[in-house]
Amino acid sequence: MIDVKGLTKSFGDHLVLDHIDEHIHQGEKVAVIGPSGSGKSTFLRCLNLLEEPTSGTITFEGVDITDPQTDINKLRSRMGMVFQQFNLFPHLSVRENICLAPVKLKLMTKDQAEERAQELLKRVGLPDKADAYPKQLSGGQQQRIAIARALAMNPDMMLFDEPTSALDPEMVGEVLEIMKELADDGMTMVVVTHEMGFARSVATRVLFMDKGKIAEQGPPEPFFSAPQHPRLREFLSKVL
C-alpha cells in the first residue's frame, strides 16, 4: 500500500532519517517504537509529506508522492492523521471540525457530512457532543473527536503520532479502545506509540527505530519476547 525507498531526512546537517526502506501492506497495523529523538515522528510525517524528504521515494497506492507533479492534497485526503496534541480547531464546534474538510473539498454536501459526523460521533462514543466546542471537552474526548475528524474523509490509511501521550492516564484507555476497534475493522494503521501493551495486542508488526534507522522489526510475538538488537533490549528493559 505504501512503499518507502531510501527515505532520508536531514534538518540542516542533522541526519534524522537514514535511508529507510519499508513497505506497509493494506490492512497492516504497524506500531513504531523507539527512544526520544530517534526519528519516529519525522518518519510518520514524511509519509504524508508534512515533512519534505531530503531524498528517497514514497509510493502510496501506486503513485510516487515525492514527485513534485503529484497532487499532494488529494493524497493527504486519503491518509488520516492524528496528532499528539489533538489539534482540533478551537473556533469551530465539534460538528464543524468534522465536516469542514469533506465539505470544503466537495466530497460531500453539508447534509451528507453532518449525517456522517453524527455517525462517527456515535462510533467514538460521543453522540451528544456535536454542538460542543473543543475547549469544553476532556483530552480523551478531544482525541476521539480528532479521530472522527480524520475518519470523515474516509481515508485508506491512518497515521497516529503518539495519540495518547498528552492524555491523563485515566483517559488513555478510551482512546486506545477506539483505535483497537478501528484496527478490528481492517483499517491500515501506522501508530507511533509508547503504549507497549497496545503495540503488543493490536499491532501486526512492530518497528523499532534507533538513530534514524529501523533497527529491528517483526510481529509482536518474537519482537517483545525475544528481542535481538542490543539497543532494543535496552529500550524494552526501560519501558516494560
Binding site: 504524508n48 508534512l50 519534505e52 531530503t54 513534485p68 492534497n73 488529494k74 493524497l75 493527504r76 485526503s77 486519503r78 491518509m79 488520516g80 492523521m81 496528532f83 496534541q85 489539534n87 482540533l88 480547531f89 478551537p90 473556533h91 469542514l100 474538510a101 470544503k104 473539498l105 466546542y133 475547549k135 469544553q136 480528532a146 475528524r149 480524520a150 474523509m153
Partner: protein, 240 residues
C-alpha cells in the same frame, strides 16, 4: 461669554458655515472607511504571501515556488517603501504626480487609494503577526486533511488570528482616521481643511480648531468603545 457666543455664531451659523464641518467630516469618514477596506484587502493578501513564503521549508523547487519568491520580494519592497516614507508625501506624490491628469472630482478617491495603500502595509504586518501567533499544529491539521494552503488559511488560521489582532487593527484604524487630516495638502476639504477655511473667513482660530479637535476625539472614542464591545463579545465566545 458674549464673545464666545459671537464666535460660535460666526463660526457655525453665519453664512451656513456649519456645512464646512459637516461636509468635511463626511469626507474624512468616507476616506477612512474606503482606505480601511482597501488596506485590509491589501494587508491580508500581503500577509498571506509572506507567511506562505516563510512556511516553505527545505529545498523546494519549481515554478510555483519561484513565483512565490518573486511575490514575496515585491511585498517586501512595498512594505519597506510605504513604511519608510510619510503618508503625507505619499499623498502628494499620488495626487500631483501619478494622478496629475485627474480632475478634482476624483480627489476623494485618490486620497482613499493613497491612504489605503499606506494602511495596507501596517495591516499586513499586524495580520502576519496574527498568523504567526496561531499554533503550527492548526495548519498541519488542516493540511493533513487535504485542504490547500489557501483553504487552511481561510477557514482555520485567519479566523483564529482575527481574534488576536483585533485590538491592533482598531488602533491602526484610529491612526488612519487621524492621518487623513493632511488631506488639505492636496486641496481636499476634509474636516481639518474645513476648519481652516472657516478660520480664513472669520479670522479667529479658537472655535473652529477646538471644535474639530472635539469632533476627532468623539470619533476616536466611538471606535475605542466599539473595540471594547467586540473584545467582550470575543471573550464571551472564548468561554464556550
Amino acid at each position: 461669554m458674549d464673545w464666545l457666543l459671537d464666535q460660535l455664531w460666526q463660526t457655525f451659523i453665519e453664512k451656513d458655515r456649519w456645512r464646512y464641518f459637516a461636509n468635511g467630516m463626511a469626507a474624512t469618514l468616507e476616506i477612512t472607511v474606503l482606505a480601511l477596506i482597501l488596506g485590509t484587502i491589501i494587508g491580508v493578501l500581503v500577509a498571506v504571501v509572506r507567511s506562505a513564503h516563510d512556511s516553505q521549508r527545505g529545498n523546494k523547487k519549481g515554478l510555483g515556488h519561484a513565483l512565490l519568491g518573486v511575490l514575496d520580494g515585491l511585498c517586501k519592497l512595498y512594505l519597506t517603501v510605504i513604511r519608510g516614507t510619510p503618508s503625507t508625501v505619499q499623498l502628494l506624490i499620488m495626487w500631483f504626480i501619478l494622478f496629475r491628469w485627474a480632475d478634482s472630482s476624483s480627489m476623494l478617491w485618490v486620497a482613499s487609494l493613497s491612504f489605503g495603500i499606506n494602511s495596507g502595509a501596517y495591516v499586513a504586518e499586524i495580520v502576519r503577526s496574527g498568523i504567526m501567533s496561531i499554533d503550527l499544529g492548526q495548519t498541519e491539521a488542516g493540511r493533513s486533511l487535504g485542504l490547500t494552503y489557501g483553504q487552511t488559511m481561510q477557514f482555520i488560521v485567519i479566523p483564529q488570528a482575527v481574534k488576536n489582532i483585533l485590538p491592533a487593527l482598531v488602533n491602526e484604524l484610529i491612526t488612519l482616521l487621524k492621518e487623513t487630516s493632511v488631506c488639505g495638502f492636496i486641496g481636499l476639504t476634509d474636516l481639518t481643511k474645513g476648519a481652516m477655511i472657516v478660520q480664513s473667513r472669520t479670522y479667529s482660530p479658537f472655535v473652529p480648531y477646538i471644535a474639530i479637535a472635539v469632533l476627532y476625539l468623539i470619533m476616536v472614542l466611538a471606535l475605542t468603545s466599539l473595540l471594547g464591545l467586540l473584545e467582550r463579545r470575543l471573550r464571551a465566545s472564548d468561554r464556550r
